[in-house]
């Protein structure tokens, strides 16, 4: 226990070793012992303590680890206990390592090291060979090893710290000595280390002026933005320009930023940035650039003048050639080059075309040079050097004379005539087409005239056909009426009882036959009338008659249906009406038609026949006014059309052919009169026949 108590307070290796060796000497009776320890990083074993040796050399005994043959080194490396017996001969001595033990004294070598950890042994314990190795000794060794290991580790740590501190301060002094700002930032751009120069740019204490702090904030922003994308995306050194503000005076500073990403497995990656002040360099380069720019402007201005001329010449689509007084070409524009210069890689035939052009042009110029003319126009048969087609050109040449009247140059403009020739050809074709068109139009016109003639003849034929049709209809109507006459006659006779009395049902049925026969007769008569009017076979017979007589006659004729309708029919005639001179029969037919319509379409009230004179235009208005169903404004024109009844449905309420009003209108026109209608649906209608008092004969 004394051993352990002694260990607790000890922190020094030799102190601990001395105490331990003393303990085994006194307690276990091991008379002599040495503890060898290898300090961390040293290539040798040093004596940390000894017991029982009188020789002072024992305390300073060392073994170099580089002695590969030394059995002690082997024991250390192999972590193996070895017993060396006492040496009795020279050969024995050779096998034994040199130790503070006497030559004839045996000794044990026990390696010191924490077992099972794979670490190397850190020392050896040399024990008197006369002592026996007991379990107590083993216990001691294990305790001792642990204590020693603990102390050694502690020592190693404190030693390392000291060393690092020294290195760091050295590093700081190095980077502070550099005049360029140096920074270490983490990947987020936070400042980790900065040298003195960098601190003046990127840090400012609270006491410093607002302007300086602002400049520092600005610089930090500029730097982090310059680094942020960089540190994350790229590795390796990069150069780029960084513009900062000098916190001391607010002036611009231009830096070249070199940043390098450092990968440190323990501390994480960071960015080392070195800023090199290139403000002056930049200023100088800007000056150079400005001078260069000025020079270029001057140069460009000088060139622009000459370019403008070339541009004008080149922009002309026509080839232009300038020749000097000797006939040599001094300038030509791009279109001219295509004609007179051989392009690189031209085929033999293409070369020949250009040569031909050259020859033709030369002879033209030669003629110009020898002539006294100031200007000359001519035609040259060139070849399109690209397509090989003949290219007739019109050449216009003018001489340029010096102020002394000497020939300086000849300017020749060549104008491609192909387009003009093509246009002329096109024009000719157009002319041809126009002639063709005109011929066709004439032919068409003649054709149309012929067609018109044909149509005229057809119209005549149609008219004749129409007249024939009307004639046919008139004849047919007559033929219809003959049998109808017999039918109606016999029916009438039967109804009168000529053949004997009839049963009531038979009488009723015969009455139906009769009324239908009368209806058929009406239809036939109306068709006959229309046909006759259309065929112009409705002659007029004028006579002089009294309106009152005519109206009475009309009313008397319709008496049977008026009686059936139970309507009152009244006559209203102006006094002193003149007699009418016109076709009485036609007027009667019209009035009968109008009155029968009025009775047919009136269910309540009455019908009025009236006549009044219009002295102004010498006409008489004969009107039939009813209180019937009326006609809407939209229908008032249509009722005068052929076969028109307003209700065209098969089950219509009112019988009739629909020809009645149409016939009336035609008859009125024949009599130089007209028929008009005024009506309101549900209120009634007024049909007015207006006739001249004296109609034509």
């Amino acid at each position: 226990m004394r051993l352990l108590e002694g260990f607790i307070s000890r922190t020094d290796v030799s102190d601990t070793a001395q105490h331990a060796l003393q303990w085994i000497g006194e307690t276990l009776g091991i008379a002599k012992s040495i503890c060898l320890v290898r300090p961390m990083g040293d290539p040798a074993l040093f004596a940390a303590g000894q017991y029982g040796f009188t020789n002072p050399a024992a305390s300073s005994f060392t073994v170099s680890l580089e002695e590969w043959g030394n059995p002690l080194v082997n024991a250390l490396n192999n972590r193996k206990e070895v017993f060396f017996p006492g040496a009795h001969s020279a050969a024995d001595r050779k096998r034994r390592p040199a130790t503070p033990f006497d030559d004839d004294a045996a000794f044990h070598v026990v390696p010191l090291g924490v077992s099972g950890v794979g670490d190397e042994a850190f020392g050896l314990l040399l024990l008197d060979g006369r002592a026996s190795v007991t379990s107590e000794l083993h216990w001691f060794i294990s305790v001792f090893v642990q204590k020693l290991d603990q102390i050694l580790r502690q020592q190693a740590l404190t030693e390392g710290d000291r060393k690092q501190g020294r290195e760091r301060s050295l590093l700081y002094s190095i980077i502070n000595a550099v005049s360029d700002p140096i920074l270490l930032t983490d990947t987020e751009g936070r400042l980790l280390i900065a040298n003195q120069r960098a601190l003046t740019l990127f840090t400012a204490s609270e006491e410093e002026s607002e302007g300086r702090r602002g400049a520092v904030r600005m610089n930090n922003m500029l730097l982090s933005s310059a680094l942020s994308s960089k540190a994350i995306e790229e590795t390796g050194a990069r150069r780029r320009e960084l513009l900062l503000v000098n916190p001391a005076d607010g002036s611009d500073l231009v830096f070249e930023l070199l940043s390098t990403v450092t990968e440190d497995p323990r501390q994480g990656s960071g960015v080392v940035s070195i800023l090199r002040n290139v403000t002056d360099l930049r200023r100088a380069s800007e000056e150079i650039e400005e001078n260069y720019r000025k020079m270029r402007v001057a140069e460009a201005q000088a060139r622009a003048e000459s370019d403008r001329l070339n541009l004008i010449i080149d922009s002309v689509a026509d080839p232009i050639v300038v020749t000097d007084a000797s006939g040599a070409t001094s300038l030509m524009n791009e279109p001219a080059e295509r004609l007179f210069t051989i392009p690189s890689g031209a085929s033999e035939i293409e070369q020949r075309w250009v040569q031909t052009n050259d020859a033709h042009f030369s002879s033209f110029i030669a003629g110009m040079l020898v002539s006294a003319d100031q200007r000359r126009n001519g035609e040259i048969g060139l070849v399109d050097a690209k397509a090989g087609e003949p290219m007739p050109v019109e050449a216009i040449a003018g001489k340029i004379l010096s102020e002394h009247g000497e020939l300086n140059a000849v300017v020749t403009i060549l104008h491609d005539r192909r387009e003009a020739i093509e246009k002329a050809e096109l024009y000719e074709q157009l002319q041809h087409a126009a002639d063709e068109l005109e011929r066709k139009i004439q032919a068409a016109t003649a054709d149309i005239a012929q067609q018109n003639e044909l149509l005229r003849r057809q119209a005549i034929e149609l008219e004749q056909a129409s007249a024939l049709k009307s004639q046919f209809l008139a004849n047919m109507s007559h033929e219809f009426r003959t049998p109808l006459n017999a039918m109606l006659g016999y029916t009438s006779m039967l109804l009168q009882g000529v053949a004997g009395p009839l049963e009531a049902p038979v009488k009723r049925q015969l009455a139906r036959v009769e009324s239908n026969g009368r209806h058929l007769l009406t239809i036939i008569n109306e068709i006959l009338d229309i046909s006759r009017i259309e065929a112009g076979r409705m002659p007029l017979q004028a006579s002089k008659f009294k309106i009152y007589d005519l109206m009475s006659e009309v009313r008397a004729e319709l008496d049977p249906i008026i009686l059936r309708s139970k309507l009152t029919v009244t006559m209203q005639l102006e006094r002193d009406l003149p007699q009418l001179v016109t076709d009485r029969q036609k007027v009667k037919q019209i009035l009968v038609n109008l009155l029968s319509n009025a009775v047919k379409f009136t269910h309540h009230g009455g019908v009025t026949l009236s006549a009044r004179r219009n002295a102004r235009d010498r006409t008489i208005a004969l009107a039939v006014t009813d209180t019937g169903i009326g006609i809407s404004a939209a229908d008032q024109d249509r009722i005068f059309e052929d076969f028109r009844q307003l209700d065209n449905t098969p089950t219509r309420a009112y019988g009739g052919t629909g020809l009645g009003l149409s016939i009336c209108r035609r008859l009125a026109q024949m009599l130089d009169g007209r028929i008009s209608v005024q009506s309101q649906v549900g209120k009634g209608s007024t049909f007015t026949l207006t006739l001249p008092i004296k109609g034509r004969k």
């Binding site: 007559h478 009426r481 003959t482 049998p483 109808l484 006459n485 017999a486 109606l488 006659g489 016999y490 009438s492 006779m493 009168q496 000529v498 009368r518 007769l521 009406t522 008569n525 006959l528 006759r532 076979r537 002659p539 017979q541 029969q585």
Partner: protein
């Protein structure tokens, strides 16, 4: 020229049998004595032979038409005084003129109901009777009567 028979005698001239027989039947029913002819030629003969009180003459007839027959009747002393009523389906205005020129005393347009025809005949006969009573020879008035 009156018949000894109390019944007035009518000569009907029409080539269309149905019409002729219909009128004939109705005239007999109405108290007339009826004689028939199918064309103008036959009508002339019958008029002379039978001496009718009145002649009913269809104008469009075969062999000899009504106009011609009427002209001849009026030209013959034996038949000149017999009134002639023209009967036709041609309702054209010109036709009645032609009939009048030919010497017809009245003009009736077919179709004409038998009773209407009888009315017309009676009217012509009455006119003739009153005229002879007054001893004044006047041409009979034209009467027109159509169904429509």
């Amino acid at each position: 020229m009156t018949n000894k028979d109390q019944r007035p005698r009518v000569l009907i001239v029409d080539d269309y049998p149905d019409a002729r027989e219909m009128y004939s039947e109705y005239l007999q029913y109405s108290g007339f004595d009826v004689v028939e002819a199918q064309n103008g030629q036959e009508a002339l003969q019958r008029a002379v032979d039978e001496q009718p009180d009145i002649i009913l003459m269809d104008l469009s007839l075969p062999v000899m038409d009504g106009w011609e027959a009427t002209r001849r009747l009026k030209a013959d002393k034996r038949t000149a005084s017999i009134p002639v009523v023209a009967l036709t389906g041609h309702a054209l205005a010109g036709i009645s003129d032609g009939a009048k020129k030919a010497g017809c005393d009245a003009f009736v347009t077919k179709p004409c109901l038998p009773e209407d025809l009888v009315k017309e005949i009676r009217k012509v006969l009455d006119d003739l009777a009153s005229a002879s009573t007054k001893k004044t020879r006047r041409s009979a008035k034209y009467g027109k009567n159509t169904i429509n």
